[in-house]
């Protein structure tokens, strides 16, 4: 590309995605951004200067050929662009929506050095939606059965990636999912207004059409153990069971009525659709005053979900300052627009209930930032004597998740780290047990969708090698 054209392209401003206005959207669960139109997408695609050594590709954990697909978008070849992405990323409609792009591909985009980076995530989302909405998703050629069978435990992004990859190589794949709907955190955790469930359904349906068998209501470790899977005809097992054990704070009053883990709160609302109670049978306490404890994506999702149930106010309580919040900037920004309040440098010390054991207040203490800790962030320390109370009737605890013990308890040979996560070889996902692989949050602790998929990708290659060579 000649320097003049580069200059021209650099002049184009980053295209905004049209979105629902905040006043309206806090009263519904529809998706917040509407996505690009074809015109906006082509305009945005022109901002990419088609680097010879594209840094963006290295910033993407699954190394999508970003300049290539963006060139196709600029030329209006949207379906081809979608196919290009799908060579390396099976779930682009999902990643385009939930990837922390500002920390990955877009962080290193050259255009971003002087201007705003190319909106890679938005373009990825656009082409995936375009392909799906036009029903032009084609099923790839599935080779003849290799005679091998693989069991995948858990249907989150890690498990789904493994299933898709291996079925394309000709292996038979069965996915076992504990809940009644496949998708993992994508269906029970991330809310509808950020990731519509019909998109996850479409991806799962695509896998089914490729021949993946999905068995719901199957809790491995209870219905069948890993050893039983291996002796009942499966040649390899992939464990992608996620980080599904909610942490509590160990402070007084945590079992009062009205105190929820974010997992319970979000599951009631997303998976069980409690926001449509009594049309749907599962209830949730809506509350007049709601606090959410934590500063990550989960806290933001819980808080923005709470807003949509129309309480008087929703406040995030976070023990560090705004700068340290791990949640995506876009989400914090969306939350603020919708009327979310924040109390930084604050930590709850106890929950206070009424005579019936229902939450009525939370006592907090102010914090100040001290010396940096292991993570490099400054450690919050309580300010003596600064306790104060806030009146609340619903509190949601979103301070992270640990590893679920169901599988390790019944598979003692699996080596775990001190937090209960399964230890694997980084390049292959091999566990300490022959024929058993693992990846995603059960290995990493709470991480991201794309990292879980990256793990799935590497594990599926290693599984394929193991199945074809028999070597461990």
């Amino acid at each position: 590309m000649d320097p003049k054209e580069i200059k021209e392209r650099m002049k184009i401003p980053r295209q905004k995605m049209p979105e629902q206005n905040p006043k309206e959207r806090v009263r519904n669960f529809y998706e917040v951004p509407h996505g690009y139109t074809p015109e906006l997408a082509m305009e945005e695609a022109k901002r990419c200067i088609q680097c010879k050594k594209p840094l963006c590709v290295g910033g993407c954990p699954v190394n999508i050929d970003i300049p290539w697909f963006i060139r196709l978008v600029a030329e209006g070849k949207f379906i081809e662009a979608a196919r290009k992405i799908k060579e390396t990323n099976a779930l682009p409609a999902i990643c385009g929506r939930v990837c922390p792009q500002e920390d990955q591909c877009e962080k290193v985009c050259v255009v971003g050095k002087k201007h705003e980076p190319v909106a890679i995530g938005r373009l990825e989302r656009f082409v995936a939606d375009y392909e799906r909405e036009r029903g032009e998703v084609s099923i790839p050629h599935i080779p003849k059965w290799t005679g091998k069978k693989v069991a995948v435990v858990g249907s989150g992004p890690a498990g789904l990636t493994v299933a898709g990859d291996l079925v394309k190589k000709g292996h038979k794949v069965t996915v076992f999912e504990a809940l009644h709907t496949p998708g993992g955190v994508l269906v029970y955790g991330i809310p509808e207004f950020r990731l519509p469930k019909k998109i996850v359904e479409a991806e799962v349906d695509y896998l089914r059409r490729m021949g993946v068998e999905i068995v719901c209501n199957a809790v491995i470790g209870k219905l069948e153990t890993i050893d039983e899977l291996l002796s009942n005809g499966y040649d390899a097992v992939f464990i992608g069971t996620g980080a599904g054990l909610p942490y509590f704070m160990n402070i007084p009053g945590e079992n009062l009525v009205g105190v929820y883990s974010a997992n319970e709160y979000l599951t009631r609302i997303n998976l069980m659709r409690a926001y449509e109670f009594p049309e749907y049978d599962t209830p949730v306490l809506r509350g007049r005053r709601v606090v959410v404890v934590g500063g990550g994506n989960t806290a933001m999702d819980a808080a923005r979900t709470a807003l949509r149930l129309c309480p008087e106010n929703v406040t995030i309580i976070y023990r560090r300052s705004r700068e340290e919040m791990p949640a995506r900037i876009e989400e914090i920004h969306h939350g603020e627009e919708e009327g979310l309040e924040f109390k930084f440098l604050t930590n709850p010390v106890r929950f206070i209930g009424d005579s019936e054991g229902r939450l009525k207040a939370v006592e907090c203490i102010r914090m100040e930032l001290g010396e940096p800790d292991e993570s490099g962030r400054r450690r919050p320390v309580p300010v003596k004597g600064s306790e104060f109370c806030i009146e609340v009737d619903v509190a949601i605890i979103a301070i992270g998740n640990g590893a679920n013990p169901l599988i390790p308890r019944t598979t003692p040979e699996l080596k775990l780290n001190r937090w209960g996560n399964i230890i694997v070889d980084q390049d292959t996902g091999k566990t300490s047990k022959k024929g058993v692989f693992a990846g995603g949050d059960i290995v990493r602790g709470g991480a991201t969708v794309i990292l879980a998929m990256g793990d799935g990708r590497r594990a599926s290659e290693a599984i394929h090698t193991y199945l074809t060579t028999g070597e461990w």
């Binding site: 997992n263 209830p283 054991g357």
Partner: protein, 284 residues
């Protein structure tokens, strides 16, 4: 889909169902439960597996009508299908030969007590059973319990059958008579389990109870089922459902189970007034 293969009325609000679920039938052990969801709009509710038939590939559950979901289930019949059944969940009862075991069942609690009594007997225990209900026609599983027990005591709150009074009174009498008791399992309404634990505590008799908190997933993911046992937070669906009765904070459990009283009432009213909402997969 999980087909109902048989339905038996045990009392006017309590029904027994056999449900086709061959894999669960093969795996389940005494003390475990399933979570089921009747239809797309349904709630997930936990129910104890009372028995199973591996030949037929069925599990048996016994349900008492208390709210919308259980009322809808009790309207379903042979051939109808339940959308989701997941299990077996929870840890099985720890079975060993204690010597003499007293099995106490209150109301619908007799349903989960029965498979445990049977397993304890098979392990060599001498079984004394005490089962109770509010009134005679609410008493369930009398014959089944008799068949696994050396001695069977029956109580009703209104005196319409058996001893007039509570199961705990019989238990107290046995203790007062200095009968040898090595182990007690008590399952029933929470106040009853609390009372049983209070009766045995001064005598240091090892006592287990089976807790029934509100659940959602049943796999340890949500924490809805948390209870305080021995001062520690436990998740009933993975750490339980059985715990040492002397360590359980029953009052907290009672309060937590009242979380949604208002919503449960709304759901039940909707259900009673809107015939159209009674949707489930009908058999042919």
């Amino acid at each position: 889909m999980y087909e109902i293969t048989e339905k038996v009325e045990l009392s006017h609000t309590v029904y027994l169902f056999r449900i086709r679920a061959p894999r669960i039938a093969m795996k389940r052990k005494a003390g475990q439960f399933v979570v089921l969801r009747l239809n797309e709009h349904g709630e997930r509710i936990p129910l104890t597996i009372v028995d199973s038939d591996t030949g037929e590939g069925t599990i048996t559950i016994i349900v008492q009508e208390v709210g919308k979901t259980t009322a809808l289930l009790c309207e379903m019949g042979k051939g109808d299908r339940i959308l989701d059944v997941v299990g077996p969940l929870g840890s099985p009862t720890h079975i060993e030969n204690y010597g003499t075991a007293v099995c106490v069942g209150g109301g619908i609690g007799t349903a989960p007590v029965y498979p445990i009594a049977r397993a304890l007997r098979e392990a060599g225990n001498r079984i004394i059973s005490i089962i109770g209900a509010r009134t005679k026609n609410l008493l369930i599983l009398e014959e089944e319990m008799r068949s696994v027990s050396e001695e069977l005591f029956i109580t009703t709150d209104d005196g319409s059958y058996g001893h007039h009074g509570f199961v705990t009174q019989v238990l107290q009498n046995l203790i007062n008579e200095r009968r040898k008791i090595d182990f007690v399992i008590g399952i029933g309404p929470i106040p009853m389990m609390k009372a049983v634990s209070n009766v045995t505590r001064p005598h240091n008799i090892h006592t287990m109870v089976s807790l029934n908190p509100i659940m959602v997933d049943g796999t340890g993911m949500c924490g809805a089922c948390r209870v305080t046992v021995g001062g520690e937070m436990k998740f009933v669906c993975v750490d339980g459902p059985e715990f040492n009765g002397h360590e359980v904070d029953f009052d907290e459990l009672i309060r937590r189970n009242r979380s949604y009283l208002k919503e449960e009432k709304i759901a039940m009213e909707e259900f009673t007034y809107h015939e159209g909402k009674r949707c489930y997969e009908r058999g042919a």
